[in-house]
């Protein structure tokens, strides 16, 4: 992961200090370069357990790359990722999943050919014993309001139902950290409100830390504890939704209200 590129900012001091144990997730000097393009640049990010954080920023700000680094779909060029006190930087995706990081993709990617119950079984059989499938399936279906669709083939669900099913599948893994890429894209106002309630509940009642990438600032306002603004691959601002909304610099680069 180290590179001979002299411009790389290495931070040996970081490695010595190690992770802060009160945080569920922490990144130190995280950097990802594709050839000459730096998509994520020296990001120090920290998240408390049970916190719901929104990531916003203009297109190309490096939001998706950052998420991919957390899930292990991409390897960082430099820097460290700590999860639950342990360094997970080099771990492959499936081992991170086993440790409790779960991800929902931008486009709903349920198994369209399987029933709703069949979809849930894929993550469930990774974490619970076969005799518990039924009970757990019912529990999740009730919670995500899909009980009536139990035997429906997922490809025939509405867009909103698919989004809920996919969040349900991610939650079936019993994660401690849930990563969501634009969970309300393409949803109606009512469906968006449902998802907002669900996410708040997941953070507050289940104590799961959640990171949400989102464009819809109204949605961000209804759910976020704190907001991180990315720009050009780096953290540009971080704060409460009020601080972010009124920050003139954020308006200039992203919200664009100043004209």
């Amino acid at each position: 992961m180290a590179t001979s590129d002299p411009t790389v900012k290495t931070a040996p001091a970081v490695d010595e200090t190690g992770p802060d144990s009160s945080r569920i997730l922490q990144t130190r000097g995280l950097r990802k370069a594709f050839g000459g393009l730096t998509a994520t640049d020296d990001v120090d990010f920290a998240l408390e357990a049970g916190e719901l954080r929104c990531l916003i920023g203009p297109n190309g700000a490096g939001k998706s790359t950052f998420l991919d680094l957390l899930t292990g779909r991409l390897e960082p060029t430099a820097g460290k990722i700590y999860y639950d006190g342990a360094d997970i930087t080099g771990l492959p995706s499936h081992e991170r999943v086993d440790r409790g990081i779960s991800m929902k993709f931008q486009v709903p990617s349920v198994y369209e050919g399987l029933t709703v119950a069949g979809n849930l079984r894929i993550p469930l059989q990774r974490v619970v014993e076969p005799d518990a499938f039924d009970a757990r399936t019912r529990e999740i279906l009730e919670r995500f309001d899909l009980l009536a669709e139990r035997e429906t083939v997922a490809g025939e669900l509405s867009h909103g139902q698919q989004q809920r099913l996919e969040i349900g599948m991610a939650m079936a893994m019993e994660p401690n950290l849930l990563l969501l890429d634009e969970p309300v894209a393409g949803l109606s106002v009512e469906e968006t409100a449902d998802i907002a309630d669900l996410l708040r509940e997941i953070a507050d009642d289940d104590g799961v830390a959640v990171i949400v990438i989102e464009h819809d600032i109204d949605f961000v306002e209804t759910i976020a504890d704190r907001v991180t603004v990315l720009d050009g691959g780096s953290i540009f601002r971080e704060g409460s939704i009020e601080e972010i909304r009124t920050d003139p610099e954020v308006k200039r680069i992203y919200l664009g209200e100043d004209r």
């Binding site: 867009h159 109606s188 106002v189 819809d216 209200e257």
Partner: protein
């Protein structure tokens, strides 16, 4: 010139458009604004013929084109600029532009001069592969490509998306010039306040798949009136 009557369309089984009525006169610049996910892209695709409508009619230049495929509509004079630009990445700039020649078959005046005049970078980079250009340059190429065949109507799907503010301003200015100098009618969908206020002469607001308001003059110039319908 373009008449949409009671248009219904769905994405899979989810209805997206639930009865849209829009009229555009020749030479106008009309905007359709709305937040994420209210049906803007679906509407443009339906007009272009890239998506089958469930119900309603589309009339273009006095002809009912509802059942015609996209390529026939393009040859009738619709120039389309897709969201996210969608230039042909492995074709050169010049080849991309050449594809646009098919638009508006009835009119054989090609607008290369105008295109190169508005976007000189396209002439400089004629032989570069389009996929290697920046987002803003690709946006210019997408507009240039649609313009080369001298379309009667330009259809734009969120021209500001993924483009930095300075280029958005440049694109907005050039679209106004296109309208003035070539007489091209323009219909666009947007959620960017700047583009809505600086480009549109008249603007529909869309929400939950229907037109909920129509703004002109002072109301279009008023920030408060417009932001009510935008995501910001």
């Amino acid at each position: 010139m373009l008449e949409l009557t009671d248009l219904h369309a769905s994405y899979g089984k989810t209805p997206i458009l639930r009865g849209v009525d829009v009229d555009v006169d020749a030479g106008e610049i009309v905007g359709i604004m709305g937040k994420n996910g209210v049906g803007k892209t679906t509407l443009v695709k339906a007009v272009m013929g890239l998506l089958e409508v469930d119900d309603g009619r589309i009339r273009f230049d006095g002809t009912d084109v509802t059942d015609e495929p996209a390529d026939v509509r393009a040859r009738r004079g619709m120039g389309y600029i897709p969201q996210g630009r969608d230039v042909f990445p492995e074709l050169t700039v010049a080849e991309n532009l050449r594809i646009g020649e098919t638009i508006n078959e009835g009119d054989d005046r090609l607008q290369y001069e105008a295109v190169y005049d508005y976007f000189p970078i396209l002439e400089e980079r004629r032989d570069q592969e389009a996929g290697t250009m920046s987002g803003g340059q690709q946006q210019m190429l997408a507009i240039g490509r649609a313009l080369v065949g001298n379309p009667e109507l330009l259809l734009l799907d969120e021209p500001s998306e993924g483009v930095q503010p300075s280029i958005v301003q440049d694109v907005t200015r050039n679209l106004r010039r296109v309208n003035e100098e070539l007489g091209t009618t323009i219909l666009f969908v947007e959620q960017n306040l700047h583009v809505v206020q600086h480009l549109a002469e008249r603007c529909y607001a869309i929400d939950k798949g229907t037109i909920v308001d129509e703004l002109e003059g002072d109301r279009l110039d008023s920030r408060e009136a417009v932001t009510e319908y935008l995501a910001v």
